[in-house]
Subunit: 203 residues, 2 copies
């Protein structure tokens, strides 16, 4: 199989539609011999730049629709979903931990990322709390103390900040946002178009 | 076949995603023995209420993505699309004329509506100009002078204003927005979910 560029998957752990896409993107990419680069960011700086806000904090009828659509879209895809009691959540620990695993335990980074999403959107966990993130990482064999120090250290803070800045430069205006071969796909509902794009090399 | 409620299809003629849904909704509804009530509104008052704006007037990277996504979504669906040179457009004449046809030439109202969409999104017409709307109506056998007087008269102005107010009361926050049996579907990309909803009576 010829060498192909990876899919860049930009997301915030607190984004329900990012969770829905996260559950599908590895299977899709592998069908086309592609890798996925998981690029967690924080939507806070993105919303500041775009003048937007989390869906559930927008115009009340739109917020109410969003809550209904999160759950309905999950049922449509056959995925479990439970609206977190605490929502949206600050996900900097999960994001930084993801980058740490990518560099220090690469084979466990994606299973860890999926477990973070499931903790929040299936098991109603408080993913904003550092112990929750450490607990998930520990299940994947990561030492809690080493990770705790790392995600509170300057290097990973800078790493995450740089990722957010890179996302803004690339034009990421929300999540999930997939970039492949220069083409952008925004939203879990663009997966069918992404699939056809990968099949046909553009359409 | 048992009596079923119609699909309420709320839209603005200036909305590209409304055009994409308009081209599909009658075939979908008829498969399930449903009628479609075409409910043109103006998104201006909706955006005022929601604090939003047309996609192409938002944060530049989001606007650029929207332009690309309009055309790509059309190709994905096998529908013709040409971004109008003048966009967005004021569509009050087309909207009022639709309500006039629904009351005075009911069998031609939906073909007229589809032709308005195609004039704007395929043939780059200036749908904001009254003569364009009259020309389209004339092709469907409507007298230009009668329609010209009607769409500039108080009754149809009030009719359209009432439709916009009703939409806001129902929670419509954008277009296209389909309401069926109390369930809302926002966006042309929710058509697969709408389809499953009609198939299964909810999911």
């Amino acid at each position: 199989m010829r060498e192909t560029a990876p899919l860049d998957f930009w997301f915030d752990y607190s984004s329900p539609y990012s969770y829905l896409l996260a559950e599908q993107i590895e299977a899709l990419a592998s069908r086309f011999g592609r890798r996925v680069r998981w690029r967690p960011i924080l939507l806070g700086p993105v919303f500041q730049a775009t003048g937007s806000a989390p869906l559930t904090m927008q115009y009340p009828p739109k917020a109410a629709y969003a809550l209904r659509d999160f759950a309905r879209s999950a049922r449509f895809l056959g995925l479990p979903y439970r609206q977190p009691d605490n929502f949206p959540q600050a996900t900097q620990y999960a994001a930084r931990a993801t980058y740490w695993l990518q560099e220090n335990a690469a084979d466990r980074a994606t299973p860890f990322a999926l477990d973070c999403f499931r903790a929040l959107f299936v098991h109603n966990a408080d993913l904003s709390a550092l112990p929750t993130v450490l607990e998930i990482a520990a299940k994947h064999g990561v030492d809690r103390e080493i990770l705790a120090a790392a995600v509170q250290g300057q290097a990973l803070k800078s790493r995450l900040r740089a990722a957010c800045e890179e996302a803004l430069i690339l034009g990421v205006f929300g999540a999930p946002y997939v970039l492949v071969d220069g083409e952008a796909f925004f939203g879990a509902d663009r997966l069918p178009q992404l699939e056809r794009w990968l099949e046909s090399g553009g359409f």
